[in-house]
């Protein structure tokens, strides 16, 4: 915002037409920049300002506060923060739960992604251009509207070892023994993955469907003339065209797996025996169960850094022409 020093601001009706026109041209770049006086750009900056200020107050300020906290022993009781020689950070290297947390987070995300993408794409391909597409898609996306914590509660009920219907179903089918799915250290992870798959597969389906609609028809037809059946057509034409869409879908889901732990908190709370204590869950425990906010801040920073890297990748994908206009460049 370097231009605030320039003089005239024209918020009222008195702006002379010439300057308005020149300014108008400027934004769509008819002219080389040196022909364009800047004064009325202030108008836009003023419009932008409130949002930027609010955002700065609730994101940048807390971010620095987070760094500060990670370097101190934070006492919320009001006794003041004490510098503690990077102890929050050095402890992380010896903290097995922290390292396991990362590993479990990756495992959890990978499992979710694998099932959601597989199922979601399959569903999209089947639904695409089918007669019932509209109504079915509408029904399928209902779980996405649900608060994750409520979804967690419903599934907690379904999984329950004594009165849960899904537990009864699995037990009757001989898949599961007496222990409920959330009770066993080896099955609990599957249990939470299933809930995520139930809720978020439709998102992948929606994105894939949007992608499938943009697969150039002439290419499909040309390939069919060359003797390809629907299966070959899918792998040779549709799938390459879908890649940008799938990448967006995967990145979005990946970030959401980092962002939300609502369902997990309800379902297992990280147990049994920490087998589902993915990093955000551990961070929640450290910060809001034990109120070790200093250590929590250090963990939060590691999580933020990874998210920012993912975000950089995502923005790059967003900017790619394929995702932006939907005109896939399968021509090259």
């Amino acid at each position: 915002m370097a231009d605030t020093s320039s003089s005239t601001v024209e918020l009222d009706g008195t702006a002379d037409l010439a300057s308005v026109m020149r300014d108008g041209r400027r934004t769509i770049n008819y002219d080389p920049p040196h022909l364009n006086p800047v004064p009325s750009r202030q108008y836009y900056f003023y419009l932008m300002l409130p949002a930027i200020i609010i955002l700065a107050c609730i994101t940048i300020y807390p971010f620095f506060w987070l760094i500060y906290m990670s370097l101190h022993k934070v006492d919320i009781g009001g006794a003041g923060d004490v510098w503690n020689d990077f102890k929050n950070w050095t402890r992380l290297t010896r903290d097995s739960k922290f390292q396991d947390g990362w590993w479990l987070l990756l495992k959890y995300s990978a499992m979710c992604m694998f099932m959601e993408v597989g199922l979601g794409v399959l569903l999209a391909v089947i639904l695409n251009n089918s007669r019932a597409e509209k109504i079915l898609v509408t029904i399928f996306l209902m779980p996405m509207m649900m608060a994750p914590v409520i979804a967690g509660l419903v599934w907690y009920y379904l999984y329950n070892g004594t009165f849960g219907w899904y537990h009864w179903l699995l037990e009757s089918a001989g898949i599961l023994g007496e222990t409920s799915i959330l009770g066993g250290t080896s099955t609990a992870m599957i249990g939470i993955v299933i809930v995520d798959v139930w809720q978020w597969t439709p998102l992948i389906t929606l994105i894939t469907l949007a992608g499938l609609k943009r697969v150039p028809r002439d290419q499909l037809e040309a390939n069919m003339v060359d003797g390809a059946g629907p299966v070959r057509n899918f792998f040779q034409i549709s799938l390459p065209n879908l890649y940008p869409f799938l990448l967006i879908a995967i990145l979005l889901r990946f970030m959401d797996n980092f962002r939300f732990i609502d369902a997990i908190l309800v379902l297992t709370g990280g147990g049994p025996a920490n087998s589902t204590k993915i990093l955000p869950t551990y961070l929640f425990d450290v910060s809001f169960q034990f109120f070790k906010l200093g250590r929590g801040a250090a963990i939060a920073l590691t999580l933020l850094v990874v998210t920012i890297i993912l975000g950089l990748i995502l923005v790059r994908v967003f900017d790619s022409p394929a995702s932006k206009t939907g005109q896939t460049q399968a021509g090259n």
Binding site: L11, G24, M224, I248, L310
Partner: protein
């Protein structure tokens, strides 16, 4: 996928595939709807009936699921004994408040961001979107410390501010893409006709109003469905529906009928809103990267 104008020979293999797809769709439909259905039905069962389950392996016994006398007692109790009226109001105020702040300021910022170029714009954008994508727990650690110092923990304004951390960047980001699609020529023409800049802005509002409305609804939905912020920052004075529902789960005395009823109260309005803005859902949920 094959285009419909090509005549196809229906081989047995093809028939098989068709049958399989129908079966798959049917199974997936049941898989999607069943938890919702069980939640809905269970909310009308009384305490004992909700726990009724046939013995293991007794497939025919599954009909006991429907063996109950429907009661709306849980819904009555929620509002009469559990203060759900207050929590409902909290949910509405917090989500609507944050959505309005986000969309009003977001639209202003998005409009100007879409109309001018300046150095560092890309960086500004990246900052905006990365705040939206930050893990909620990680954001909450410093926010909790700050809000505690400011006395905002447990208050509705605190919760509204907390929700704005994810709704405002979302609104800016998504509405910017929206304004990009409105040709500047329209405003230019309006200003040639003697409109002021602000009047010209009003001129294009009808074009973007449906979208702005839809994303307002989406912001409400995000905030409404939040649990983490509400449970920590809202704890105490600003309990919202998801938190209140979660708190019905108590170790000794789990009242599933009541919990399911609370689930229905929390979920039903959002499903309705979701269907209402169905057209904008993909755009909204993919941060504008994908359009239907």
């Amino acid at each position: 996928m094959a285009s419909s104008d090509v005549v196809q020979y229906r081989s047995p293999a093809r028939r098989l595939v068709e049958i399989l797809t129908v079966v798959f769709l049917a199974v997936y439909l049941v898989w999607t709807v069943l938890p919702l259905f069980i939640m809905f039905v269970s909310s009308f069962k009384d305490l004992l009936e909700a726990f009724k389950l046939p013995p293991t392996g007794d497939w025919a016994g599954a009909w006991v699921f429907f063996d109950f006398t429907p009661t709306v007692q849980h819904y009555v109790d929620l509002f009469a004994d559990n203060n759900f009226g207050t929590y409902l109001a909290n949910s509405i105020i917090a989500s609507l408040g944050s959505a309005l702040i986000s969309v009003v300021f977001g639209a202003m910022a998005a409009y100007s961001l879409s109309r001018i170029e300046f150095r560092g714009k890309r960086d500004l954008f990246f900052w905006i979107i990365s705040t939206r994508m930050a893990p909620v727990v990680a954001v909450m650690v410093p926010l909790y410390a700050i809000f505690r110092g400011a006395g905002l923990v447990g208050t509705l304004p605190g919760l509204i501010l907390a929700y704005t951390t994810f709704n405002l960047p979302f609104a800016i980001w998504i509405l910017k893409g929206f304004f990009d699609n409105v040709p500047y020529a329209i405003e230019e023409a309006a200003m040639c006709d003697g409109c002021t800049r602000f009047q010209a802005f009003r001129e294009i509002l009808p074009l973007v109003a449906p979208g702005i409305g839809a994303f307002l609804v989406l912001c409400v939905l995000f905030a409404w469905n939040d649990f983490l912020f509400a449970s920590i920052i809202g704890s105490g004075g600003a309990k919202t529906l998801p938190v209140a529902t979660k708190e019905l789960v108590q170790p000794q005395n789990i009242q599933w009928g009541k919990i399911m009823a609370a689930g229905v109260v929390t979920t039903a309005p959002m499903m309705f809103l979701g269907l209402l803005i169905r057209r904008y859902l993909v755009t909204g949920l993919t941060m504008g990267a994908v359009r239907e």
